[in-house]
């Protein structure tokens, strides 16, 4: 039994549309994580101001990307503490600076740590 030209055309179109839809759905479902570098910072400022603004600035919400300028006060493995109050955890790069260095860090604000009494950032990258 052979298919008519019209039926062949319908089948081919259905197949192509199905593959296209599957491709689009997979693209949406398995979209990669957004990288810190690609996201515009919701807050830019120095570390001391950030601590002050934390309670009053409504743009500072859990999960937003922030960019802060401060002084390195502690180095731990893959993280640094800035101005004794902001803990920044780097995802990929190992920090190669020393205590006392001034730097600009961009990272995701994940919350205030009551146990350590400091702000925590993850997915950090070094801006300068």
């Amino acid at each position: 039994m052979s298919l008519s030209k019209r039926n062949k055309s319908i089948l081919t179109t259905t197949f192509i549309v199905s593959v296209f839809l599957l491709f689009i759905i997979t693209k949406i479902l398995y979209a990669p994580h957004k990288k810190t570098i690609d996201i515009e910072a919701s807050y830019k400022g120095n570390a001391a101001d950030f601590i002050t603004d934390l309670g009053s600035d409504t743009t500072i919400k859990i999960g937003v990307i922030i960019e802060i300028l401060g002084e390195v006060t502690l180095l731990v493995d893959s993280a640094v503490t800035i101005n004794n109050r902001i803990f920044c955890q780097f995802s990929n790069q190992k920090p190669s600076f020393k205590i006392g260095d001034t730097l600009v860090v961009k990272g995701r604000y994940i919350g205030y740590d009551d146990l350590m009494e400091e702000v925590k950032l993850d997915n950090c990258i070094l801006k300068q």
Partner: protein, 181 residues
Amino acid sequence: MKSLLIFVHVFLSLGLSAQKFYTKTGITGFKASVEAFESVEAISKSTTAILNAENGEIAALIFVKSFHFDVALMEEHFNENYLDTKDFPKATFKGQLNDFDINKLTNAWTEFKITGTLKIRGIDKVINNVINIKMSNGKIIVNGFLVVSPSDFKIEIPGAVRSKISNEIKVTMNYELVEKK
């Protein structure tokens, strides 16, 4: 006389200050996968944990947002639909290691009973469990796991995905605690 009093005060202060060990980068993971379905698991490398080495009190804090999934959309659903991270950004544990004595720790694993309260989404659950602890190069290594259920914390799983998420969620902990100076 004054300097003697200062010396006694400083000596007493040092003696009374508790010896604490901590981490800010503890690893906590969980797995809620069901066989034959897509893996549902995540890991956080940002857990804060503090152990009072003198009395065995232990506290931990984890920011829910710090859990990383391989699939970005799954992570988004986890935060927005299940854990309500916006309203409940932290999960905490406060507890006690029974019969803890730092002087008896060696570089071999020792089991300790732990009791405490796990708080997720603002809901408390009493935990009675066993964890393994050892001393290695001056660090206290804590390793353990516990099993919880979404219903323990009133996490509602929609019918469409209920069969794909296990009712028994295995939570693993791996913390390297250094002395707080």
